[in-house]
Symmetry: C2
Subunit: 299 residues, 2 copies
């Protein structure tokens, strides 16, 4: 890992690539390195299009840590053939995560199968899938990270809607195999989230911490309405303090899906992200004897 | 109350007027009476435009019970003048409910004030407002019914997002003064909702039970995307059984906001609502010695 001229206050910042999806992978690597941002969160589709090995080399050469791969999951199908295909696809995602050198595969579990109204049965199938996949992932040094999605996605994307539910699932497995994602966008409204962050931290379950702000009105389809840090309703500092207090010292990933950001110059967007991060999310204390940066997969 | 030729299986059905907003109040009264639907849920704006006393007479003459008035609330402002105006407006809503002969004023509590990120403070102001309003309402025979809204409305409409939160607020006051609304659209995703319905029933807190289905994709603004019963992801029968088991025997109100229903013939929509209700929501057992219809405010 290089990083000679990296600002200390960005030492835990990671840019999820969908935030600046107008960038190719080489642009992403170059842009993050230039801005002193030490981590990137990657998505499977662009990584596969570029080549998984090549993407891994690209990030390693730029001195960047891959803090997570998005995403596995979508394993709620009832039909055996569909279910088997989903598990195969998740094994491929685990392999890709291992190749990229990230220990974290984010899981968006999946919604109700078409025509189904059976939330408990759907959630049970997620637990079964985790049971099948977690040994495979562990052998490759990858932890499965269950991401609770906002309840507005419960029908069509993810029946895991709260951090409590994600932990109920994760805690069936060893902490080093299955963790959870704390994403401010999905969890900010929940009055039990402080207690659940503490629970997650006590169990060593926080696999990722992601930031985006909540802005209204929501767009049709509600997928691409996330706000730049500071533009919305979420007390990001409050979340950071809770996650800190829970003992989490890993990467802090900014993941914003918003077409207005995609229309702008990528470097300008990244500078804005870094500036908002520095002003809204408490920065690191002055250099301490204990290293607290993101794990360096390149060793 | 007339109702000689009312079908027994619709004896608890109430039509919230926004479901068929193309109807004027006289059309609503006539349409419900003709269809054998014994209850209506009304909204303040059309009632005030028609005249509160006149609307009360209209419904009484048609033999209809007014099962709820929507809505009070929106009392999360910080500014004293704004807050006082909101409380005054809520007193007016309580007066209107009393005039209409309904014992239930539905409260949509309000979102974060502009620029605020303080969820706990905002929720505390709701408790304060309930403290100020509930004696006034009780003197007029009106119960305040806190409606938890789906978490996607937490920023701009209602920081009370779960039935547990609504009960935490309601339980500060006597049950006959402050209750809660169980609305399937807002609560269906929540894996704790069965326990919270039981808690609400045990405390005599269920002031209203409302039905709508969850359909995707959500429209921009996410206000007008509710589905006709049976068109979406919600197990309505499951909800009805839980509410029954909790001891609730009041009206069952259908409240769907969907422009596609507003473009159709009102009588046709109401017939469809009644048909879906009869097939999807368990109907009443054969006539029992204990009356279980909606309360008749006309005495």
């Amino acid at each position: 890992m290089s990083g000679g001229n990296r600002p200390e206050h960005l030492s835990r910042l990671s840019l999820n690539q969908e935030t600046i999806r107008q960038w190719s992978l080489p642009e992403l690597a170059e842009g993050c390195a230039a801005a002193g941002v030490p981590g990137v969160g990657l998505w499977r589709a662009p990584v596969r299009a570029y080549g998984v090995e090549a993407a891994a080399r690209l990030m390693r050469t730029a001195g960047l840590s891959v803090t997570s791969l998005c995403r596995g999951g979508f394993f709620t199908a009832v039909e055996p053939a569909e279910r088997a295909a989903a598990l195969d696809d998740n094994r491929a995602a685990i392999d890709e995560a291992a190749t990229l050198g990230t220990g974290t595969l984010v899981l968006v579990s999946g919604g109700l199968p078409p025509g189904s109204r059976d939330l408990p049965g759907t959630r049970a199938r997620i637990a079964d899938a985790l049971g099948e996949l977690s040994p495979y992932a562990a052998e490759r040094g990858v932890r499965l990270a269950i991401e609770p999605l906002h309840p507005m996605y419960a029908a069509d994307r993810c029946v895991v809607s709260t951090l409590a539910q994600a932990l109920d699932l994760a805690e069936r497995f060893p902490a080093e195999r299955v963790g959870v994602v704390v994403d401010t966008y999905h969890l900010w409204w929940d009055d039990t989230v402080a207690a659940q962050i503490a629970r997650a931290g006590a169990g060593g379950r926080i696999a990722a911490f992601q930031l985006a702000d909540w802005i209204t009105p929501l767009p049709a389809g509600v997928l691409l309405g996330r706000g730049q840090l500071g533009d919305g309703s979420i007390d990001l500092r409050w979340f950071r303090e809770r996650v800190d207090a829970a003992g989490y010292d890993g990467p802090i990933e900014v993941e914003i899906f918003n077409p207005a950001l995609w229309e702008r110059d990528g470097a300008e967007v990244l500078a804005e992200v870094a500036e908002r991060y520095a002003s809204l999310v408490p920065v690191e204390p002055s250099p301490s004897p204990v290293p607290s940066g993101p794990p360096d997969p390149a060793g």
